[in-house]
Subunit: 352 residues, 2 copies
């Protein structure tokens, strides 16, 4: 039976990407070797790395003002790396607290400088994106989590601020167009919308670097990786390769603009059924910043929790159990999720 | 034509491992999903992580005194992490400088405490392992690079010291038996003898941790990863899976004791030809710490450099060009390299 993969991350990848990814493990581009056993300095892999960077630049419209890096350690490492690389002890950065990931970013940043939480939705267990935020001027940067995977919220408008935005986009990178001029840093663990686990994308405005007074270990200084094109040390070859294939696929699909339309259509299909069907209710109200990537909903009757998961599983839908801090259900419908699979889940809801 | 993969790293992996690794990208254990798109908290992957840890413990005889971690960032990250986690500013660690990797470890450690270089082979471009080293007492630890990939040297006896050894074993982990009781930390980037690029093995004696005064970001504190079984953040799922398959293969081959015998036989076959054949000379003299993993040699006549690479390439041998800082040739003959492939290279040398 075909599986419909609603996992929150690591998450669904496009079928043609997986096919090519499997072939490369057997024989990479006719080399007679697996991609898992070739030097990261061999020409075929250097070409992969170059193409991955070009695709990021093309798909998001990233100018030369920014560096594009492929690192490791996930968004969890960027929580401290962004502050470590940008914030001096006598300076202050702003943070918008929209859930568990923001809270972790705030905790790590406090080791390096002043942190001001300018808005938070903690009062309602993070089930909305704060609106009309008044951001004080003079912040070194303003940090946001563009999409919250756990609570199913997403920024629809970017906060007004005179500071560059630093954004954790792990769960919605490449899902929509971005006004790059507002951002200082964009980072994303690959394993939701870009590729498999094991690589982290960092897009950083170069003029923001080199201004902190602390001494940094080489590996923790973004400038090290910029100078060596993400190959100061051995990069995660295969995760980068599969990410490159996924970005190629995004381009073939029409780029992020086409993704944005498809993602909105998928999300509408699912939210409409949730709002219509008396057996379910959405975790996030309409207009409060409903995520187009992670649709969180609850059974009206708590006793329906397990039976619905069973009904969905019987239809081939996997990974729809909600995060333990929210409960209920979560359907993650990233770029690679076809609308046909969302329809399968909607049909299960209709028939439940 | 069959390729004989002498790359220094990322490097050859066993053929049956690659076969299973490719299958898992298409369908992982009959789940109907690729291993690239499943949650790191799903039962099948948690079982992979557990088995990987068990295999490390069984193959190397690692007791519960030690934690076994699967991290990212490579040995290059461990250069600073070991010092950051173990060394206070008013304490001193010893380092043995046997080449580029040691030198990098020394550089990074200096950010965190006192560093004393107790021996070095820099005077002869690192073509030997220092012997009869007198290590002062009272060091917090003594850092060594057990095998130098670039210069083809390898410690045959472990230095005498009252301090725990901290060892970068990126290029010879699982190639031979180890006296674990001498070690405080063993670390290794996977991509030479353990798996593909993208995961780092860290074996750390737990009682050494929690003694530094500095505040550490969560991701940089080994204790964070110990508490969460290497899943504080999303681990590099696929690199860990392929490493687990490789460790299973090592066990099936008879474990590290069997690997040790095979590796010695392969190295003897190649060094004997180098010593016998007037057209070649070894970079490292017999008795000076010749590596069993990376065999470095030079053409007696510099004009033979390119023709020999061409002859080897014609026979299917890839990756034998030496590192730019040594020149000549380098044949990396890790665990997964069959003796038949070494024989192919030896035959090319005989017929050259």
């Amino acid at each position: 039976m075909k599986k419909h993969n609603f996992f929150a991350g690591p998450a669904i990848l496009p079928a043609p990407v997986l096919k090519q990814a499997a072939e490369a493990v057997t024989d990479f581009e006719g080399m007679g070797l697996s991609i898992l056993e070739i030097s990261h300095r061999s020409k075929p892999f250097v070409a992969v790395l170059d193409e991955a960077e070009s695709l990021v630049r093309e798909l998001l419209g990233v100018s030369d003002e920014f560096a594009v890096l492929f690192l490791t350690g996930g968004a969890s490492s960027e929580f401290y790396l962004t502050a470590m690389n940008l914030l001096n002890e006598d300076e202050t950065a702003g943070y918008i607290d929209t859930g568990a990931w923001s809270a972790k970013a705030i905790k790590e940043a406090k080791l390096f400088g002043g942190v001001e939480v300018v808005a938070s939705s903690k009062d309602q267990n993070y089930n909305y994106i704060p609106a009309n935020i008044e951001v004080p001027s003079g912040l070194k940067y303003l940090h946001i989590t563009s999409n919250n995977t756990i609570f199913g919220t997403q920024f629809k408008e970017w906060p007004e601020t005179d500071a560059p935005l630093v954004a954790d986009m792990s769960s919605d990178i490449f899902s929509r167009r971005l006004p790059l001029e507002k951002f200082g840093v964009i980072y994303a663990g690959a394993q939701k919308n870009m590729g498999p686990a094991g690589v982290t994308l960092v897009i950083v405005r170069k003029d923001l670097l080199g201004k902190v007074k602390r001494e940094l270990p080489s590996m923790l200084d973004y400038r090290t990786h910029i100078a060596k094109n993400s190959s100061f040390n051995t990069p995660p070859v295969y995760p980068i390769y599969v990410s490159m294939l996924t970005l190629r696929w995004v381009k073939e699909q029409g780029g992020v603009e086409a993704m944005e339309k498809k993602n909105e259509a998928k999300a509408k299909l699912l939210y409409d059924e949730i709002d219509r069907n008396p057996k379910f209710k959405a975790s996030v109200e309409a207009g409060a910043g409903r995520s187009v990537m992670n649709v969180c909903f609850l059974p009206t009757n708590p006793d329906d929790l397990e039976p619905f998961v069973e009904a969905a599983t019987a239809a081939g839908c996997v990974g729809i159990t909600g995060h333990r801090s929210v409960g209920g259900f979560r359907a993650s419908i990233y770029n690679a999720m076809p609308i046909e699979s969302v329809q399968v889940l909607v049909d299960v809801m209709k028939n439940f």
